[in-house]
Symmetry: C3
Subunit: 353 residues, 3 copies
């Protein structure tokens, strides 16, 4: 084992179909992470904000914000999957399992489920299925993402291309509703909105109104907190000479800001149950102000539950572009350059019952 | 309940005298918040810094810094009270109750106790009495603040004007000294200063010497931590086109910095017991360096206590202006533009006994 | 005790040989501090990241990162030792004792062990031996540092010069290996590298490859977290008119970044056992990107341990200067201006056994 000690990251030709990767650096998620997450995003959803509120709906205490759990799992995978990534292309089939609580320790492992070399032979797309588990080996989150990864050697032979079949959305019957959850004691005033599941109409669009300006220190601190060590977020010395001339914001931070902004209009969407799909359609940089709007794509009842329903949402985030007129892709599916995120996900919301 | 889902905030004509408002989003205050508060303010008071010190004076552990408790209560109220505020005009009658400890969950409710339309008919002043309580419904903090709020409709009729009578200060007999507090074991060396209650003279002025430069990331992170979502602090895209061309610092962050700076000169003022009055007399912005000085306005013994006394202090904070010559308002009460805060509050300090 | 209340800090002539100083403001180190430390440094060592990992090697939970413990102890000492320091000249004989865990409270005391006036009679060098202890009075860390401190009065008489004998390194027999530590369950995959103690060669050099750009908000937040109140880090209003025209980064933050970067290449160096010596050879500022490389100076077995060995490392950090060619001092010992840190320390690493 003598020889270079530094991890160069995996290149496209290092991945093979069916490969299983146990990721390094388990992580205990604590009240400290929760505080920093609120400090960096301004999230105001009641459930992850207060033990008292969580206990009023049957949980032992405030669960970790779903997206904080997502970032913590994602962060484990970067050193193996995306250190040499050119772009984080998309997410699908993301399903949140048991809630994560402060003090829980997570690990993550990934399986390579798809590979496709690009026609330029310089890069390829790697599809991985990642599973994050807690210290009891319960699944906290599993999801698929695909990234464009550089090849080490353009001449390296291409694997047989396989693009996995990915579901349009996580099936409602597969959503995990926390076992002990009982919304009979859910306080709408404390929740922050009088609007319940019944009040949202199919196709309804909501402008979340507020904006949040990005700072270098904020996005780097968030990304470091998740121990996501992708180089493009941290090194102005090299990025200053790169494609954009500046550090790139971790796309997950944009997802978190969009979700935090969405509290104004969706305050009782107390939990993200699934990430059906998502794309970072343009990069964001320090100084940009992030706005967001949402559309209700679907509504669904859940098996055996009358207190909680599902809303499938599409949240689009923009930069330096208010969302009163709901900007999105044009008829050809092309996004204007000030749209940065298009996320399709399913939330749980209190029903009138 | 169909219809717009986004909270537009209350306008002046939405408030009525006697109205009671339960604020949304309860908040568990944790060791994570404590760490971030120290990281953002540099506060060095011994009591909220160490369980060991707190236990040496009879408390079960380090209480939450009084101003962190204040910001957490204040943060609850913003969405209902000051989302459409033009200015946060003042505070009075602020009384800290039972200490807050990590793990406690707070909620806040407010009562409208005064209303007065301004002569321009475009804005009005709203006076609210806010009470913050812990999960046992014990009062953690109650205070009055008044804000100038925009009217939705200039033509809306004005309510009968009522400006509440507000006390000059919180009466010493009304101050809450934590029940178990016993300063016999108070270690002056660990406390950080040899100066005790007896050593401070009426009218004495103290230059706190040090300065702290404001950064966008710091004030936004502090303000988000408190879940204070007032727009002016976060959105450069709109504020860049506004009055000041930049984001405004949350006034409470300036109070915290002034208090943290005051540790150099007032290290044994281990607790704020009351905020008698306070005004943000000029705005602050990123890049400004905050300085502070204090004057001893009054000294008082406390009923049944020989180990602890009260000092009524006035702390003035400036920007880019050292305080060796104690800058303040002129004879006409007008403040120079580099004075930003004038705060009248009462601290508890160890006595020789 | 009437009179000035503000601490002016000690000047060179205020120190005397053998003087013992108990430092103020004890500090409970919490999970909140841990989160913020990870958020500000991006550290990815497995042991301080996860309770589950720590428990797999016999510890009750994740210990506080050694450097976070160092900064917390160091922070206690600043108000007494280095408030009037011109420069932090060096460290030696730093030995980590019992691990620090979240919830532990530290205090620090220092003894003056050396004094030497400089020939200009305007400054002098003060050598202090500092001991940080937990609430059970167990030693967490002890080390020597020396600082150049201004004189209040150039004419004040010089003390007899005494420069203490300092060891070249902490003896391997004196290193503290945590009592319960048992590396038989150490998981190399979770640890983040296949490389163990046996794999590192004497004289081996490792380029840690990655870079981290400094931001004002990050270094100030880190330094405030440690309650290190040295003025040069915080006040742009005065520093803008000073030597460098800007705020100076706390050298300890650079040490932390260098250690965090070193995880890429030294991931199984799970603990710092000693700081043999170290110098901040040039200042760093916001905007600089920090890189690092390390050299293996010595390898040592430890008494009665076959599962863990010691590596004595030299880690050099640079600014805006990648380290593939291992920059360092020239033959005359002079450092190029883009080298900022030269640190000699001893880590513990898993052995094949």
């Amino acid at each position: 084992m003598n020889g270079p000690k530094t991890n160069p990251g995996n290149f496209f030709e290092d991945f093979r179909l069916g490969q299983e990767i146990q990721h390094a650096v388990p992580r205990t998620v604590t009240e400290g992470d929760v505080a920093l997450y609120i400090g960096l995003t301004g999230s105001r959803f009641a459930l992850p904000s207060a033990d008292s509120f969580a206990q009023s709906v049957g949980l032992p205490g405030a669960p970790i914000d779903d997206l904080l759990a997502f970032h913590m799992v994602f962060g484990r995978t970067v050193a193996d999957i995306s250190l040499n990534a050119v772009a984080n292309l998309g997410y699908a089939a993301g399903r949140f399992g048991v809630p994560l609580f402060p003090g829980d320790s997570i690990t993550a492992r990934s399986t390579v489920i798809g590979l496709k070399e690009n026609s330029n032979r310089e890069t390829g797309v790697v599809y991985v299925h990642t599973v994050g588990t807690n210290q009891a080996e319960e699944v906290v989150l599993d999801y698929v993402r695909w990234v464009m990864v550089r090849k080490r050697d353009k001449a390296a032979p291409a694997p047989d291309p396989l693009v996995p079949q990915l579901p349009d959305k996580v099936a409602y019957a597969d959503l995990d509703v926390p076992l002990d959850l009982d919304l009979s004691g859910y306080d709408l005033v404390l929740g922050g909105s009088p609007h319940l599941w019944e009040d949202y109409a199919l196709g309804e669009k909501i402008d979340h109104v507020d904006g949040m300006t990005l700072e270098e220190s904020d996005h780097m601190t968030a990304t470091r907190l998740y121990q996501n060590n992708a180089k493009v977020h941290f090194n102005q010395h090299t990025e200053g000479q790169g494609r954009f001339g500046r550090r790139l914001i971790y796309g997950g931070h944009i997802i978190s800001l969009a979700r935090a902004l969405s509290c104004n209009g969706l305050a009782n969407a107390f939990k993200i149950a699934a990430i059906n799909g998502g794309r970072h359609v343009n990069p964001s940089f320090a100084g940009d102000t992030i706005y967001a709007w949402s559309e209700v794509l679907e509504k669904a009842e859940l098996p055996d539950r009358r207190d909680v329903g599902a809303l499938r949402l599409r949240t689009i985030a923009t930069k330096d572009r208010p969302c009163h007129d709901f900007p999105g892709p044009d008829a050809a599916g092309k996004y204007p350059e000030n749209v940065v995120l298009d996320l399709d996900y399913t939330v749980l919301m209190k029903r009138r019952g």
